[in-house]
Symmetry: C2
Subunit: 440 residues, 2 copies
């Protein structure tokens, strides 16, 4: 295979910018217990995972840390002048910090507070205009007593504001707090501004919303619509012949140990409850062979978006060979593992972009799902569900012959790891794993 | 470079399904001249390009072909019993054809008619439920007299209904037609149904919209929001050293003729008006070198999503070598060029999925843009703007050393091709082009 590389031009650390256009603020709007913080955190997590610089600025946290916790509902009464002053000061403090951060290194901020009055929103809009920052309001709306009550019990009663208080009393106090806000509530209406309204799991209204990041957030909000959290499992293929030789890439079959793992995986899934009703693999042999052992489960679907990171010119090489023959590549990879792109191959950031539709599909769906994948591609997918930033993904630990179960919780997932074994032939050797030599 | 291929398992024609889940009907709703057909056509075009089986069923066309053209406004009067009967019959005829097509081979249908009454929409909803087809209403809303008048003049006056008629008289008649519909208009409100409302370029309301295809359509509608049509240019890199040898893939520099082309391209862009304010290349040398000659234009941005189709195991081979050494791959490629995937490389469908965000970015933006790309990747991009289906993309003609200018029109783009030359060294030789041997 001839390769026409131009060694004069360094290929690594491609300078593609993720940042195109001005900084952006998503300003949450809505009564307490309408899911503002949940949505705000999900947005920040998603954008950080995609490689953007995003952060939540939560006014409630400022209030608790500066003015003290355990404020009862009277503190939120709009007629309590003293408290109004204090709360306004906290809102401004959070705004100052937010714009300071945006100026320094931030890209997308979520300003998380009720922001339920037109006057408060006007202050934020003016600051954004003055700082040249784009502003999108996200209003969360719910009139369903069941949803609101469930929100209060799932999250608010665990707030430091109610530490040690009787749950019934705390819930009563929180309902009074909501009532104070409702008296002053003015929904977002300004036709000329950019805003979204999220009405429970039913409706999404987009007013003058465009641009790349807001469009991505719309996709995320659509995928999160149901707030169902999916039960799923992640595992790498059984050890491959390339793993044994310490070579990256390729399309090898399994080692004897890898086949033994596939058998143990199959036995495991004869016993678990619930059982996966879907099995996804990549298009590469080692995942399809592994899944072919799972006789108790539905036939697997092979997806190219789950393929392993493309090693390009380094495909088929050992880690030691790369260090010897391509020392500059070796060094560049160590300098920035997330952004480093193999010559004519992929970077972790490239893999994140490719895996993103898979992540949203997992968020959207509800059937128990097993994914048989590869080290780098699964690291990115797993990283999203663990709330990791793009830079952290290359360091996540997903060793061979382990099964990772992602268990639904109200806020996301817990994980349970099971070592199925047997010990890979490559165990303990540096550079043994299929793409990155991380100690497992 | 070692390769661990498993020759026992055929790698081509990967059976990944594009169809997941039930068939789908998008039912347009809205008064005449609100952009229903424009949006319906854009949706079908986009889905066909992505590889889905989509089609518009336009009741107006049935009416014109079965009941005759040149109906004046009285035909649309809800009190004209005879006409109401005829129009209802046409609506049912289109529905019958649509469900017949969905049963046979269709996947996504757009049912394009006013559908402005609750009764008419109930009939469609019942049929969809009976046939197990998902239904999403798309209502287009505009109260701006300027937008409506512009729509009438840009499209309706060119309808066969008004052939040969004085434009003023035709516009008057069409306004009367709108008035008839307005009398019976009932906006979509049903909270339990799935619907979108497109309010001019301002608002998009999504009610119970989810699933993969509807989510894609939301992204498209957001990108189309402004209805600005972008002026852009496409060209391949100057002839590469691999083109001269007839090899695919690689990362070669330019031949002498390729460099001469880059000079001519630069001269050309010193003269044109408007000038591109953005230049995009792939991450591969041949496009970056070509763009480096364009001193009159802004510095280029290199994008991995514009890279050439990955030839995987065939990278660096000539077309003749593939035929000799991998006859099964050669045959599979000829059997289905759009779906054929190079072993451990990409198919045209893979490239379409990769290029799709670029296409939406072009739709969203408005700055004149020059793209210096590659044969296969540009074929897919160009295919979208020419309204081609996925299957047709591999046959589109984009020879070396030609410039394709995409000129905005009210409905999309016209194109103007300019041969800049010089003649590539590889001219006339089969297999000379960088990925597919199509006669140019």
């Amino acid at each position: 295979m001839t390769s026409y590389s131009s060694p004069a031009v360094p290929r690594s650390l491609a300078p593609e910018r993720l940042r195109r256009g001005p900084n952006l603020v998503f300003c949450m709007v809505g009564l307490p217990a309408r899911g503002k913080s949940y949505i705000g955190r999900k947005i920040v997590r998603y954008l950080n995972w995609l490689g953007h610089e995003a952060q939540v600025f939560n006014v409630g946290q400022y209030r608790r840390s500066k003015l003290g916790e355990r404020k009862d509902h009277t503190f939120f009464d709009p007629d309590n002048d003293e408290a109004v002053k204090g709360r306004r000061a906290m809102a401004h403090l959070a705004l100052d910090d937010m714009f300071g951060w945006l100026k320094k290194r931030g890209e997308v901020a979520v300003y998380d507070a009720t922001n339920t009055t037109r006057a408060r929103r006007a202050i934020i809009a003016e600051r954004c205009a003055a700082e040249g920052v784009r502003l999108v309001f996200i209003e969360t709306i719910s009139d369903s007593p069941e949803i609101i009550e469930a929100n209060i019990r799932a999250t608010k009663l665990h707030s430091p504001d109610y530490a040690g208080m009787d749950p019934e009393e705390a819930a009563r106090d929180f309902r009074m707090r909501i009532a104070h806000y409702r008296r002053a509530y003015e929904p977002v209406e300004a036709e000329r501004l950019s805003w979204m309204k999220v009405v429970e799991d039913k409706q999404l209204v987009l007013n003058r919303v465009d641009g790349e990041v807001p469009s991505k957030v719309v996709r995320l909000l659509m995928a999160l619509r149901h707030r169902k959290v999916r039960h799923f499992w992640l595992t790498r293929h059984g050890e491959s012949l390339a793993n044994v030789e310490g070579r990256i890439g390729g399309d090898p079959g399994l080692s004897s140990q890898g086949r033994a793992f596939a058998e143990r995986l199959a036995e495991h899934f004869e016993r678990v409850e619930p059982q996966p009703t879907q099995v996804w693999t990549s298009t590469l042999e080692r995942t399809k062979i592994t899944a072919s052992y799972l006789h108790a489960l539905p036939a697997s679907v092979s997806r190219r978006d789950l393929d392993e990171i493309q090693a390009g010119a380094c495909d088929g090489m050992t880690y030691e060979e790369i260090r010897e023959k391509m020392p500059e590549e070796f060094a560049a990879r160590h300098a920035d593992k997330a952004r480093y792109r193999y010559p004519r191959g992929e970077s972790y950031l490239d893999v994140i972009a490719r895996v993103e539709p898979v992540v949203l599909e997992i968020e959207r769906g509800n059937d128990p799902l097993l994914i048989v994948g590869h080290q780098a591609a699964l690291r990115t997918l797993y990283g999203y569900f663990r709330g990791e930033r793009a830079e952290a993904c290359p360091q996540l630990q997903l060793p061979l012959h382990w099964l990772v179960e992602m268990l639904p919780t109200p806020q996301g997932h817990d994980e349970r790891r099971t070592y199925l074994g047997p010990e890979p032939l490559s165990a303990g050797r540096a550079g043994a794993s299929s793409d990155f030599p991380v100690k497992t």
